[in-house]
Amino acid sequence: MNTKSPYQIKIGKILSVKQMTSMEKMFEIALPGEDLSHAPGQFVEVSLLGIGEAPLSVSSSPTKQGSFELVVRKVGKLTGALHKLKAGDEVGIRGPFGQGFPVRILEGNDLLFVAGGLGIVPLRSLINFVIGNRKNFGKVDILLGCRNPKEMLFHEELAGWKERLDVNFNCTVDKADPDWKGNVGLITSLIPGVTLDSERTFAVVVGPPIMYKFVIMKLLDKNIPERQILISLERHMKCGLGKCGHCQIGNTYCCQDGPVFTYEKVKAIGGAI
């Protein structure tokens, strides 16, 4: 049989590893001889033979050539093992999988990014893409929330976004520490303060499961149409091929049909959020 198994992995070389917080590390990975060619919002299945596979969002923008970045929180088997790797080590890569953010549709519109916790990881891919192609998009607002300042990722990049005049950036923490000078409170508290033109605004929301319900409520309060609210659903996934059933919600397989969906679509599927 010479048809290719969909389970075949490509070898990825780790170019660098950076400790981001106590829980997260960033890995820069290259597929020798090729680009990943992903769209923002897509993910890859990262594999270590003998340990397993895990879906991880690509965090770097497609505009970055030659390598891509993953940000990994250590929670279990595979993620724990990844954290032990160093530059020069190999990982297996399958993908990219899924439907990323609909960049073509977003073009020409205003964008409101809402990221909670690790949600910034996949969003960063889109944000950097937008910044890299800034003239193609309207007004850009970025809202970021996390539990405490120590968990905040991409400090330098965030500072860069903050500096920019063509991007409005705001962030908050659930619980401050003595050094924190910024907002304190849930991410939902930042939304009312954003001025937006609901007709031409697309809201892109990524964060932990419990966040969606509350953020979406606030966005609907702002009259953003349901089909202009984009969210990413991260479910348990095994195959990435729309078969194993773990990520199925309603009729959709998050891995193939998602992870990015409009709220309009998600609302119609029972049990999605």
Binding site: G50, I51, G76, K77, G80, A81, K84
Partner: protein, 249 residues
């Protein structure tokens, strides 16, 4: 590479789980190629005074001395494995907790009862922190090997949290409920390849209950089959009596 220093200790138990090691056959030599067994009272006279990388503990804690001993072992080892049902969930020794300690002591030892200090039976994790759990009465060798490999690779290895029925069906057994017999498969953790049912017996729950068991549902099932509810209570505390002291999430 330095081979990890491994030892075996036993508390109140039948030592059958240690014996399972000898049943590995020549595979044991491969295992011994990967680890360095430095103390194993049942088959070795050697003793080790230093630190251990991993200690396998068989048996439950039933005496005040054992409590002290297990604490000392915990302090001497990097990794601790609760090995077998007695260690993992209290196992059959837990049945003792069905009785008042004084009563059971007297019933067995009569006037000499005072020679036998005993405390409520406890699983190892109810006394000290445990890193790996291998339940089973006795342990299922493929699982022992799987945990050993996880340990060697530095990986976590939780006990499966689905029901024995899953494996039972994969093995295409006739369900015992069809025979009108109560089986603990639906609420017991898989991982033994439905060992007992494959051989015509029921599951006695020796691997411990799943994390979120529908015990009420299980009792209703008995009623549907006109089986007495005492029956399942009786079976459930055969191995899982100690578990009553865990606060389940």
């Amino acid at each position: 590479m330095n081979k990890p220093k491994v030892s075996f200790f036993d508390f109140a138990c039948c030592e059958g789980c240690q014996l399972q090691i000898a049943n590995m056959g020549e595979l044991l030599l491969d295992v011994l190629g990967a680890i360095d067994v430095v103390e194993f009272r049942e088959v070795m006279s050697e003793k080790w005074v230093g630190e251990f990388d991993v200690v396998f503990v068989e048996g439950s804690i039933t005496t005040p001395q054992a409590i002290e001993h297990i604490k000392r072992l915990r302090a001497r080892t990097k990794t601790l494995v609760a090995y077998g049902s007695c260690a993992a969930i209290g196992g059959v020794n837990g049945m003792k907790n069905n009785y008042k300690l004084e009563d059971i002591r007297k019933s067995v030892y009569g006037k000499d009862a005072n020679f036998f200090p005993t405390v409520e039976t406890k699983a190892i994790h109810q006394v000290v922190k445990v890193d790996y759990v291998i339940p089973g009465c006795p342990v299922y060798l493929p699982e022992v090997v799987a945990v050993l490999k996880a340990f060697l690779a530095g990986l976590p290895r939780p006990v499966p949290d689905n029901a024995v029925c899953v494996e039972c069906k994969l093995n295409e057994n006739i369900c015992l409920y069809e025979r009108g017999v109560a089986c603990l498969g639906p609420i017991t953790r898989a991982g033994c390849n439905s060992w007992c049912i494959n051989h015509g017996n029921i599951c006695y729950g020796c691997r411990g209950l799943v994390s979120n068991p529908n015990t009420k549902g299980a009792k209703d099932i008995l009623e549907k089959y006109s089986l007495s509810v005492d029956l399942i209570a009786n079976k459930m505390n055969m191995y899982n009596k100690c578990g009553e002291n865990d606060n389940r999430e």
